[in-house]
């Protein structure tokens, strides 16, 4: 494993890598992370209260188009967006449909009849609406999720929303804990299995087992956090009320344009 190849493979997934720029067409990467949250927010709120099929469908399609055009996506992500998500919608529409109260649907052509259970077109449409509603909200969240990095989000929270930097950068440092704790949890699991804890199935054994992981994990976490805190203190973290920002995350005219455009789109869809 040469360091160069390791770098190359890791770079794609590295949340800390410098924000890439993929040209003007991939415009989503050039927007401020906050605008990518603010723009779809009214639409997400609205979708919570819709019951029809058209509204979520429009948002699904609009968002997909926006992502495919405006975001630089890996082939796998594209595959998930364009093939897997429609399949999930199809599956969910059926399973939600089955759970729909037939009385609410009224008379409608029967699709399948198995014994006493009748699956009607009306029930399926109700299921489809629910599935699309959930999917559209997830897709709207992905506009920001697929095109901004955690550190950039923190920087813009600090720079634009005036979130105290002590909070923001501590959260950023805490990001680094996640892989470490995951590894530690794996080792603890292994160690407990060696001690013969794995015996026993079912939810009660699971709870008992998981409770056993908490103490060593927490003990390790607290110790680690204390050490990180000392290291940050000794590098003057929190010395002043501000700190030098080397990366300026601008909030530009294009961010306003994007937000206004998205809100307008939302308003138009509402009025239809």
């Amino acid at each position: 494993m040469s360091p160069a190849s390791a770098t190359a493979t890791r770079q794609a997934a590295d949340p800390y890598a410098a924000p890439p720029d993929y040209g003007p067409i991939r415009f989503l990467h050039r927007l401020n992370p906050l605008s990518k949250i603010a723009a779809p927010l009214p639409a997400m709120a609205l979708l919570l209260f819709t019951r029809d099929i058209a509204t979520p469908l429009i948002f699904c399609i609009a968002t997909l188009v926006m992502l495919v055009v405006g975001a630089h996506l890996r082939a796998r992500t594209l595959l998930v967006l364009l093939i897997v998500i429609p399949m999930i919608v199809a599956v969910m529409s059926v399973s939600f449909g089955i759970w729909t109260d037939p009385a609410r649907v009224g008379d409608s052509p029967v699709l399948i009849e198995v014994g006493p259970v009748r699956f009607t077109v009306g029930a399926w449409l109700v299921g489809l609406a629910t599935a699309l509603r959930l999917t559209s909200i997830v897709l709207l969240a992905l506009i920001g999720g697929l095109t901004s990095t955690g550190p950039d989000l923190v920087r813009s929270l600090v720079q634009q929303l005036r979130v105290p930097y002590r909070l923001g950068y501590t959260a950023l440092a805490a990001f680094r804990f996640v892989p470490r704790f995951r590894h530690e949890l794996d080792v603890i699991r292994q160690a407990h299995r060696v001690r013969g804890i794995s015996d026993g199935r079912g939810p009660i054994a699971w709870v008992a087992r998981t409770a056993g992981y908490v103490v060593p994990l927490l003990a390790g976490a607290i110790r680690h956090a204390e050490r990180v805190a000392l290291a940050m203190d000794s590098r003057a973290f929190g010395a002043h009320s501000t700190r030098t920002e080397r990366y300026i995350i601008a909030f530009r005219a294009r961010d306003w344009v994007f937000i206004v455009f998205f809100w307008a789109l939302t308003a138009v869809v509402v009025m239809l």
Partner: protein, 619 residues
């Protein structure tokens, strides 16, 4: 508490006015005599502890000077280091009496943030010092906190990263660096603070030998440049000793035992140091042993190179009694291997079944091949050290043998059991596995329950369990702590308990994964003494480790892994004498290195461990 040591006389000088003078002379750096660090009558009491460690310690560090703090574990070395940049008492709950002055600023009166412009710190664990996502951001983090201008931040970042040789990798995530690389990054972060004083607290305790070499190469350049006063807390004296101008020695109670020029203290007061339990350079220990055997070595050497030179200066050396007595030390091949570590007793019916037999073992993790065609026979009663660079597959092999991870069926036999197919109970009776961090293995609320857990799973009778637990508690010195929560034990006690839980089901085989990693020398040698005793009683010991001198001193066999294959396996002496370690990317331990270079006494070249040397008292 009376202090009868001669070196602390200057305590009598009234420290108060002296400190004030330093305060007044603010740009003190130019004035030659002003010390960079001035510690006066410092005692530190951690909240909830009865005693203060360190206790009433005074010393100075001159600008550009390199000072090493030595002392047995628990003497407060690290606490003292934390006091130098104000973390004690400002960030750590402890009470500090006396004064610490750095660059004319008294730490009690200043914030840690202000002090960070005078003193930069490097800690033991590189992981816990990383807060951002790229090397460049990491180095910039400190100066940014101090509101240094953007261009200056970048200039400092570049300079510091270049000093540690990481500038080319500035866009990488610190996670991509090796342990040594991350610790070099931590040093770069300290350099970027542009302080006149650098404090390093056990900077290599968590590193493998290659990482230790990297860090010391960087430190050597820093020392040569002479820009920093450096205070170093370090157990690995073999790496550090020739960088250090002066040593400060604390005793077990945290009092100042001695301070002075490195060579003068180490050579002339070596008996006191040994009595204090301070770890000494292995070259010095070897020379002391030879002196006792009548070899007139003078002056005493501190480094392997000096040891080689002083032995070559001898016209005659005594015969190597150890090698005559035990054919294993010099010879290679299997008959010698059997003789070296084999306890009498199992040999009743001809050649005994081996402890471990591995045949054509391949193991993949995901799409990566970790182990590749391993063939191996480990005899009963041997003490096998598994060594190799990071990623060579050491831990994977150990875990496969112990059944922690499942190998393909039929490749491994441990005393007639295939760990890939055995159930947990059989496995526990056959081989005990000790994880790197003992806490990970603890599952019960008291020490006694922890020990009883294994026998309970074996469905032993209650009386039998109690007898076993009680025997174990005595064996590992934990009887008084039987109702204590395992997490509340000290580090050494936790380690002993974890070994106890691994052995209580009667497993004749013990496997340990990096048991000394990140531990100080005193605790490491305590564990090794324990393992030696178990091994002498007939337990077969397999241990994965980075510490090659430890390997040399304790193991009967060395297994060298390189990229998932066995590069060498044989008796310790013959592996150390070959070039197997070097060709697998490892370093020969210091003692073997020193003796291998001997020109005038060729029969001494094969000496690898202290016990090979003739000793004063013939046994």
């Amino acid at each position: 508490m009376t202090d009868d040591r001669g070196m602390t006389d200057d305590r009598g000088v009234d420290a108060q006015p002296a400190a004030e003078t330093a305060d007044d002379a603010q740009p003190a750096a130019e004035a030659a005599p002003a010390p960079a660090v001035r510690v006066r009558s410092v005692s530190i009491q951690h909240d909830g502890r009865a005693a203060s460690t360190p206790s009433d310690v005074s010393f100075d560090v001159a600008p550009g000077e390199v000072v090493l703090i030595l002392g047995p574990s628990g003497s407060g070395k690290s606490t003292l280091a934390l006091a130098l940049n104000g973390l004690v008492p400002h960030a750590v709950p402890a009470e500090l009496t006396g004064t610490v002055t750095v660059g004319g600023m008294r730490t009690a009166d200043a914030t840690v943030a202000r002090l960070s412009e005078r003193v930069a710190m490097v800690f033991q664990d590189p992981d816990s010092q990383m807060v951002t996502g790229t090397l460049l951001d990491e180095v910039a983090f400190g100066p940014e906190n101090l509101l240094v201008g953007r261009d200056e931040v970048l200039a400092r970042a570049e300079e510091s990263l270049r000093q540690v040789g990481l500038w080319e990798r500035r866009r990488d995530n610190p996670d991509l660096l090796s342990g040594g690389g991350r610790q070099r990054l931590a040093i770069a972060c300290a350099l970027a603070m542009k302080t006149p004083i650098l404090v390093l607290d056990e900077p290599t305790a968590n590193l493998d030998p290659a990482g230790i070499d990297e860090v010391y190469a960087v430190l050597r350049r820093l020392v040569d440049s002479g820009d920093h006063a450096i205070v170093l807390v370090e157990h690995n004296l073999d790496a550090a000793i020739d960088l250090v101008d002066r040593v400060i020695v604390l005793d077990a109670q945290g009092r100042l035992a001695m301070q002075g020029q490195t060579r003068q203290i180490l050579v002339s007061r070596v008996d006191e140091l040994l009595r204090l339990g301070v770890w000494l350079p292995v070259a010095l220990l070897a020379a002391l042993r030879l002196r006792a055997a009548g070899v007139p070595i003078d002056p005493l050497p501190l480094t392997p190179r000096e040891l080689t030179a002083s032995l070559d200066a001898q016209d005659a050396l005594p015969a190597l009694a150890a090698q005559r007595g035990h054919p294993s030390a010099g010879a290679s091949g299997h008959p010698a291997a059997d003789a070296s570590g084999h306890p009498a007793g199992n040999t009743a019916s001809g050649r005994p079944e081996p402890a471990v037999r591995v045949t054509a073992l391949d193991l993949d993790r995901g799409r990566t091949r970790i182990l590749n065609g391993i063939d191996l026979t480990i005899d009963r009663g041997s003490f096998v050290a598994i060594v190799g660079t990071n990623g060579a597959g050491k831990t994977t092999l150990l875990q496969a043998i112990a059944g922690v991870i499942r190998a393909p069926a039929g490749c491994i036999q441990v005393l007639g059991v295939d760990p890939a197919k055995a159930d947990a109970r059989t496995l526990a009776r056959t081989i005990g596995f000790v994880f790197q961090n003992p806490e990970h293995q603890f599952i019960k609320g008291t020490v006694a329950e922890e020990l009883a857990h294994g026998p309970q799973l074996q469905k032993m009778a209650a009386d039998d369990i109690e007898t076993r637990v009680s025997t174990m508690l005595d064996r590992f010195g934990l009887q008084e702590l039987r109702d204590e929560h395992p997490f509340l034990l000290s580090g050494g006690q936790k380690r002993r308990l974890s070994v106890g839980t691994a052995l209580i089901d009667g497993a004749p085989l013990l496997a340990l994964d990096e048991p000394t990693f990140g531990q100080d020398r005193a605790r490491a040698s305590e564990l090794l003494t324990l393992l030696d005793a178990l091994n002498a009683e007939g337990t077969t010991v397999l241990v994965v480790t980075h510490d090659l001198q430890l390997v040399a001193e304790h193991s009967s066999h060395i297994l060298v892994l390189d990229s998932g294959s066995v590069a060498a396996f044989g008796p310790t002496a013959s592996v150390l004498a070959s070039d197997a370690l070097e060709s697998a990317g490892l370093r020969t331990p210091p003692l073997a290195r020193a003796f291998r270079e001997i020109v005038r006494h060729p029969d001494w070249r094969s000496v690898t461990r202290l016990s090979d040397l003739p000793s004063g008292a013939p046994s």
